[in-house]
Symmetry: D2
Subunit: 364 residues, 4 copies
């Protein structure tokens, strides 16, 4: 109940602080016999790790993952898969100056108030470093989904007010991935990507940060995933996304703009035919009544700007006295390029969980 576990049947429990010995995850419920491709897991982590490009933080963490249990001769055994990512850079940091200062819009104050104890070395448990554990587990979820033909793709759809066009539906996920990975901001539209990179680089030079959005699609999702009435597929996706650091909003299908539409324009009309029903439009975002309908699932996640900026800021200490935060060190000017793979990982975890849960929906 303490909040470090996600999922029901395909379930992860993460642990670790940013400046402790290691972070890690236990994945329980992965079906036996799934080939576990360690290189793939590492390649996913590489997309999230710091120091990838000039527009991410320059901290040094190789984020090298070890599998401690749950596999045998390259396959899952049905027992818990524990993965460990040692922290390499934790000793070199000196956070002693922050011992009792509450940084603005960080979790310093709330953790201190809740637990009455504060690990003042960086963000401790509240650091986004924890998401590396999610990415490792999410990579295994992706392997399970791939076995079932399900594809997930996310990219940066906005940096500040720079908005990418909708994804080209004629492109395959492989093609989209190739385009996305050709630029350091991870936007599937090269022209927008160039603008975004320029923007972030300017923000970085200002010592400031900026928000953005990540949009995600899921293709080939079987009909029937999602458990009414509380564990609707989009409700689980929403919770998954909102649990990622810095996320302030989630919408799927027509989203917020759907609130401005009329029913007569929003309804997705079925196309008659012999195959599985398709709809003319997809304002439902691939989910109806909380259950996937076989159309492409799509959603968008809004990230606030990172709170760590390189400016001096007024703040308080634990006694409530005025204090100043000095802008220094290394930071992410915009979190979304590294968040793309986190969004995909959390989506994969939700899908894998709902896939297993759906096995009991009707009699064999």
């Amino acid at each position: 109940m303490a909040g470090n576990t996600f999922g029901q049947l395909f379930r992860i429990s993460t642990f670790g602080e940013s400046h402790g010995a290691a972070i890690g995850v236990i994945l329980d419920g992965c079906p036996a016999q799934l080939p576990i491709d360690l290189d793939f897991i590492q390649s996913e982590l590489d997309k999230r790790r710091p120091g990838q490009s000039k527009i991410t933080t320059q901290r040094k963490e190789s984020d090298t993952v070890q599998i401690l249990s749950g596999t045998f001769e390259g396959k899952s055994t049905g027992t818990p898969i524990a993965m460990l990512i040692p922290n390499e850079d934790q000793r070199s940091k000196d956070y002693s100056h922050n011992t009792d200062i509450y940084r603005p819009s960080h979790a310093d104050y709330t953790y201190d108030a809740k637990y009455g104890i504060r690990d003042h070395r960086g963000g401790g448990r509240s650091s986004a470093r924890e998401t590396a554990a999610r990415v490792a587990a999410g990579a295994i979820a992706k392997l399970l989904l791939k076995h079932h033909g399900i594809e997930i793709f996310a990219h940066v759809s906005a940096v500040g007010r720079i908005i990418a066009p909708n994804l080209e539906s004629s492109l395959t996920v492989d093609q989209l991935l190739e385009i996305r990975e050709e630029n350091i901001v991870r936007c599937a539209d090269p022209a927008t990507a160039r603008e975004m990179i320029e923007c972030i680089d300017g923000i970085r030079k200002d010592g400031d940060t900026i928000g953005g959005k990540v949009s995600c699609i899921i293709r080939n999702c079987p009909v029937g995933l999602g458990e009414p009435v509380f564990d609707k597929l989009h409700a689980d996706l929403g919770k998954a996304m909102l649990s990622i650091n810095a996320v302030h909003g989630f919408e799927y299908g027509s989203g917020f703009s759907g609130s401005e539409m009329r029913g007569s324009e929003h309804n997705d009309i079925f196309i008659p035919g012999n195959e599985a029903p398709k709809t003319l439009t997809n304002f439902s975002g691939g989910i109806q009544g909380g259950i996937s309908n076989g159309m492409e699932i799509n959603f968008t996640v809004a990230f606030k700007p990172v709170a760590t900026i390189m400016h001096n800021q007024q703040t308080i200490n634990a006694a409530g006295e005025a204090a100043e935060i000095k802008g220094k060190g290394r930071h992410d000017p915009c979190v979304v390029p590294r968040a793309v793979v986190i969004v995909e990982a959390m989506a994969a975890l939700v899908l894998a969980d709902q896939l297993l849960r759906n096995k009991s929906s009707k009699l064999d």
Copy 2:
């Protein structure tokens, strides 16, 4: 795991279909000795029930609640509180014409695909009628929160493109409630309310429907609620809201607009002083690192337009053949006036649950 349970320590399980004998809820985990005010529970249900005004559906359901267990001499006993709301109008309906037709943007197709069986009498389990059970349980959650001084208030903040101004922070929750309940659309700004009512009435005459938004604030929330890293307070609120019928989006604090901001403008600066820390701005929406910080919590929920419209629509039957839905009967032209109390109920359930969970955060 089948999705009909919400919450961990203050936990509800709902049951019932729109045209069965009854709907209801079991609330497990309500602390003993809480005065259970049946009149208050009923008054909450009255704000959700059909037939309240000209801008809601004209169906006849009194939604009279009975408590079957868990109370003794007006107080909770610590045992499960079961509440029953008999369906009164269920026999008179004739849904036989819909037996094998999939209504557009309803859950007919997805339920049929998932379960291989379809209760074709109205929406069955997917009907928003299920939310009456949530409102009943949410009313008890509100009683618990009131005991702890916590206040929740929601209102209609948008109907289509008609947007209400931000809530007046100088008004108390009691004052806001009084203003809100003076108009049938449940908007806390009387001038906007008039526009909204006019809009909905026009939509209704067109036989169409329209989307909208509900915004909610929580005042006097103690610092420390929310369980990192997955059960962040806003992640639980987001899931709660996204589990409500027709919801397509959730944002809190700066929300989607936060994705366009810079860190230097978004950071909420602490005000020095002897009291519990406050911040100059509240882009964090009262939650930092997933934990309440004592500031006002605020969030907004986007509802799509109701799928049932009074127009004839092309669709398909279970065999995939073209079919037509005839526009007839009674419907809600806009769901948000009745959804206000559902949003409050779900928020209250999340808060009550996190309040109990927080009891174990540190050593006694």
Copy 3:
């Protein structure tokens, strides 16, 4: 977390007090399309209800069950199945004399201490009347198991020191049931049954009560049920049985006598052959490493004597002052004849749950 829910995927939540309006249960997770035989559910309840014979309590409760949701045209729909059993005899009771007296070896004191409030009308929630809800849900679990060919049979294997011989392995479950139901004590050995009935009748005339045992077998259980390491099949069965009122012990396979054996005599040797492995002996009780191995599962449950006796007893009131309980009214001289169907119900619930959980054990 408040303890009124049992099971993970095939999950029940019970509610209700002995002298409230009704008791009931929500069963969530029953796969869709299962034929729900209401007559069978009622016939199971009839085996548990009071007043069946001279050796049970003479209270009058018909225990008539109603299904409120989750079925359509005689089949489960995949949505929660809510069942209600109204209390009929609750108003006629006069428990006012017991308001603040703690009955010996009842739950009066502990409930009062835990919740600070006491429903003094009979046992309230601690009454074994709650098990009627379990029997109703267990009946549906049995229907699911029957669909998969799994059979459960329990009988009274001891009353006080009168011990029944082991079940005849050459008899089918149907034959055992027929023999068992021919006597009011529900022992599958007619000669022992006569002794038991005589014993209980004598105890009843003394105004006393006596303990006993129920033994249960499960046949045709597929190999593979049980989730290591904590949710071993026998651990879940043990918890299920220990959650039944008055149970003080559980053993399976060789049980307590296994603690006296040597490995060389206890090991169950596999028989070579082309079919699914069988063993020469079955000290493992059909479960190895917490997982069913295809052999007959067997276990035994020990019940203490009922605490309500017809003698005057010294006790205390809530103030700690000496008080006297007058022996009067109607009681069960021995609980095991009515407990047989409760044991079967709880076993069926565990098996149904593990059957669904096992669906995710390996890749499709």
Copy 4:
């Protein structure tokens, strides 16, 4: 749901196989600010590790525990506590001869059938080595209980037919511990201990194994722990014990002998007085209605003989063909001396969990 998690609020998830890189545990829900005494945790592990004495297996594992997260400056922080115990002896083993042989009364066959894959290196996940992770987490549970004044003590109460006398109630837990740790069989009665050691030593020389019992008491347990109706304190204790390798039975209070008693002798009569109610006898085992009543809690656990014996045994391979297991290597002739601390650990985990759960039983 995959069974590797135990507890609700004080919750552990274990991972690891006997011959993988490591075993370990995540403890989630430990309240912040608890002093975490690493030496104590290690000393608990030392009581379980192999090679302690001539009557345990001679395998070499130091079972050195590392804490990876969740503590800061010697105290718990409220975040997950991850502990790792590297396997040291795993590479030296050669289990290749066992690749497809099913050992009698082991979990080889059932794991293979359930998961379709078999980690043939020793027991894999089914090995009792997994219980080291439980002992590490149980040690932290003990630290929490100690903070609340609760004491747990277990000892070997039977080896085969050699039965220890009941524990001397005049001795403190510290005194009992001192007596117990003076002999290698861990029985609190020195004379019986000598008999037991002699018995086990003889069994060992025969290459055979023998079963036994562990009895446990809990003192100073506050009134009110246990959550009716399913999570009764003794039901959770029972499940905890039955989840330990080789356990075949559990009884508490009067246990199986209670089934032979009359109500008039079994009822525990309250003693009038001003203090918290006490009872003259304690057949209830400190638990009434599933809730602790403040009296000493007591229970007994039956262990079957270890399946690994040093005799040659007939068995089958995965193809069902006859095969022979050669008796060789190192084994535990009797598991109970090492199981004492496992029983205590599991009891501590149950108590810690119920202690936290009880915080919500009534209104503050």
